[in-house]
Subunit: 472 residues, 2 copies
């Protein structure tokens, strides 16, 4: 149990008075954050006949999903966008909400750029020389064998957890290969998964994450993997449809600032008012959850956890072209660029291929450096990298859009919160354990598909089930 | 320069209106936090003829210095308490404020407990067998040679900074010795400096910290080192005397919640009101500084830094006895216990030795585990460890006091914020660089004696000098 460090304070008179400022009085559950996790929780609670209010800081729902349009009205996602075939909950949700999906374009050859050499390939070599490809594969199998030992529900109970957790992924890789190309490949690839560098991730966290998503091939693959499917119109529509169903229960532009626990309920203070409820579900990234005020103050273990789950660093780039010209050259649009700052590229064109879109990512150290550049220089760096991969046509886009998630006040980084050395084993128990009447959701708290949209949906439903079991 | 990510918002009408709630209208500088850093800043600004208001969240000043009394009226510090001979600024401050000092008791033998063997020693061996002591010394010299290469003002510019920063201290130690006892000694010793485990600290941060304080012997020593001198009545009196001088300029019980920057000033919102000033100095730990609201929102680099400077974990224990009985046995009271949870012990008796006090620390992993125990079990564990070191008399204290700094809402850990792998090189530039009209102070921002009271005082004066240079 999460023991709070002070006795609860009753402020009923004050809250009753302030509630007159807004007409919600009888909410049973307040949900903080209208991303996938929060909305999935609210939907589950509503379906069970409970009254819910969702407080969202932004003037939009969907959190780390966010839709924009490129010139010509092409919808693109500036945040999370892909769904894989084993992501059952989110796929089912998409169907329930009446949204359509389409396959990510995945025909033709992939590219890898490394040390100035551009390699085109259609096999499993990642475009590496044979010896390097074999070593990359050997390391993959070794990591997956270790990952197989991890407890998804309680990673800190994994055999040899302490040793796995005090080691960084970087230290493990360097200790386990002397092959420079394989090391460079792994070091370059990790930010594509975590938006962070291998030294910033505990080996245990990496292994947990691998297993949580079904091992590396599933995480990396387009067809058959985590990038297989897209949602027509954009993934933010999942949240928008859920919010439509919830109607007035979702209140935008209402950043939550404080949560006070009473003996029989909670009082939530947000910009614009206060409301009372029996329980709260906080469905925002742990680092942001740690910035709310709690009364009584949260115990040190929970607070310490939120001090140690920094968000990844990513600037997502969408580049629009008149046509998907790379397709004519037999390219899928998938590229790994180990030389430049835009590490991974995919074809992100609309389903009918009526125009072309390449999506790329500044991730980890690249993102932190790119964020300090003037926007024009960052755009130029992205286009220069695309030209190296796809030729001179890439230099003439019809549109360019980017989103720096580190600057987003109500997310403060993507793809998600990570755990560095030592955190899982010492603080993991506090990640999803409720603190009194406050429950925690969000993709970071999921044991299956942690960090993905699927994990977000699952976490929201898990938190809703916790609350339903306690509301009586 | 710290570029803010949104344009400033003018809310003059609103702030003027709200200022009527409190009578401060003409403050030139607002300081957030009345610890040593904030008060030293305020004192320097006042001395330069500037008007200052210090907003303190707690109902007391002194932050991580905190005085209590054991039974019989013996004053003890529950937070930072020692001053070393090279800590010139704080020593001079103590003198200026008319406080008296006395030497930490340091006569007789020290103790080391390791693998069930209690060793008594008066030399430099730390009570280790000869081979282990030699290996400990060899590692110390190797680390100090590396530390000597570090840039104190800009650690990220240190030669080979990237490699030093992606390595944890744990990985370095394991790669550089195969001697089990020496490794155990180092692994057990590090939490005494950082309240964190070697895997949680980047090698670059460790090296920086070593050099910042004048290398390891200085950090560890009593006489001639960082534990040499105590303040009569307690170190919190330094802050109390500064606060007395500042009079009404210090406002207690006023947690700051938000800082809004305008074109020509700042507006600070705290529990109880708002005030305006030309500039702000935020003198609280980075992780807590990251929890304030800023408008415009701070840039991603600064925010990301605050996500990655977790506070150390410590529960400080003061145990009072009728007499300092260990002195009669020829013991100094200094002990390193590698077997139990109370890692380091010192004699903390009052200057006249009229009663005995032993001070001990649950640190790092020990502290995190001990925090989850019931108070009676934690006390029993502490006393059992002291009995092993000092004999059965240690089982019968006249008083026992402890403070879990992780539970302190307005500190959230001690001794200070640390940097794990990768943070110095990617985020270090944002540590002390002002963001517009907001300046940063606190022991974590100091280049000399980083993390110590000396660093706190220096950081406050540095921030005050920044502000004075800009106020014109």
């Amino acid at each position: 149990m999460c023991v709070t460090s002070r006795s609860p304070t009753l402020k009923v008179g004050r809250s009753t008075d302030l509630l007159r400022r807004w007409d919600v009085r009888d909410t049973e559950v307040v949900v903080v954050g209208a991303g996938l996790a929060g909305l999935a929780a609210a939907r589950a609670l509503t379906a069970a006949g409970r009254s819910v209010t969702v407080l969202e800081a932004r003037d939009r729902v969907a959190g780390r999903n966010h839709g924009r349009h490129l010139a010509g009205g092409v919808p693109v996602e500036m945040g999370g966008q892909w769904i894989g075939p084993t992501q059952s909950e989110v796929l089912e949700l998409v169907r329930e909400l009446g949204l359509e999906t389409f396959p990510t374009y995945d025909e033709g050859a992939a590219l890898t750029l490394y040390n100035g050499t551009l390699t085109r390939y259609t096999d499993e070599t990642f475009g590496l020389p044979e010896a390097a490809a074999a070593e990359v594969y050997r390391l993959q199998k070794a990591l997956e064998a270790l990952a197989d030992t991890v407890s998804l529900s309680s990673p800190w109970l994994t055999p040899d957890a302490a040793a796995l957790d005090r080691t960084t992924l970087d230290a493990w890789l360097r200790a386990n290969t002397g092959q420079g190309e394989a090391l460079a490949f792994w070091t370059g690839l990790i930010p594509a998964l975590f938006s962070a560098e291998p030294s910033e991730i505990s080996l245990l966290h990496f292994l947990f994450y691998l297993k949580s998503g079904g091992m590396l091939d599933t995480l990396l693959a387009t067809t058959g993997g985590a990038q297989e499917t897209r949602v027509v119109g954009g993934t933010h529509r999942i949240s928008e449809r859920m919010a439509q169903e919830l109607g007035d229960a979702v209140r935008l532009g209402s950043p939550v600032r404080a949560i006070t626990q009473h003996e029989d309920g909670v009082e939530v203070e947000f910009d614009g008012g206060r409301l009372t409820a029996r329980r709260a579900i906080v469905a925002i990234p742990p680092t942001l959850a740690g910035r709310l005020r709690y009364e009584p103050a949260l115990p040190g273990a929970r607070d310490g956890l939120t001090q140690q789950m920094p968000m990844g660093s990513v600037i997502k780039v969408q580049v629009g072209y008149a046509t998907p010209f790379w397709r004519a050259a037999g390219l899928s649009g998938f590229a790994i660029d180990l030389d430049d700052a835009l590490g991974i590229t995919l074809d992100n064109s609309p389903p009918d291929g009526s125009s072309g879109v390449l999506v790329g990512f500044f991730e980890g150290a690249h993102a932190r450096r790119a964020a300090l550049l003037p926007a024009t220089e960052r755009r130029a760096a992205a286009l220069a990298a695309l030209v190296k991969l796809f030729g001179p046509e890439a230099a003439e886009p019809v549109d360019y859009a980017e989103l720096n998630w580190m600057d987003e006040e109500f997310t403060r980084g993507c793809y998600g919160g990570r755990l560095g050395a030592g955190v899982w084993t010492q603080y993991g128990h506090a990640l999803a354990e409720p603190c009194g009447r406050v429950h925690w959701a969000g993709a970071e708290t999921a044991d299956v598909w942690n960090g993905y949209m699927e994990g977000a949906v699952r976490s929201g439903r898990r938190a809703a089930a916790e609350v339903l079991g306690l509301l009586g």
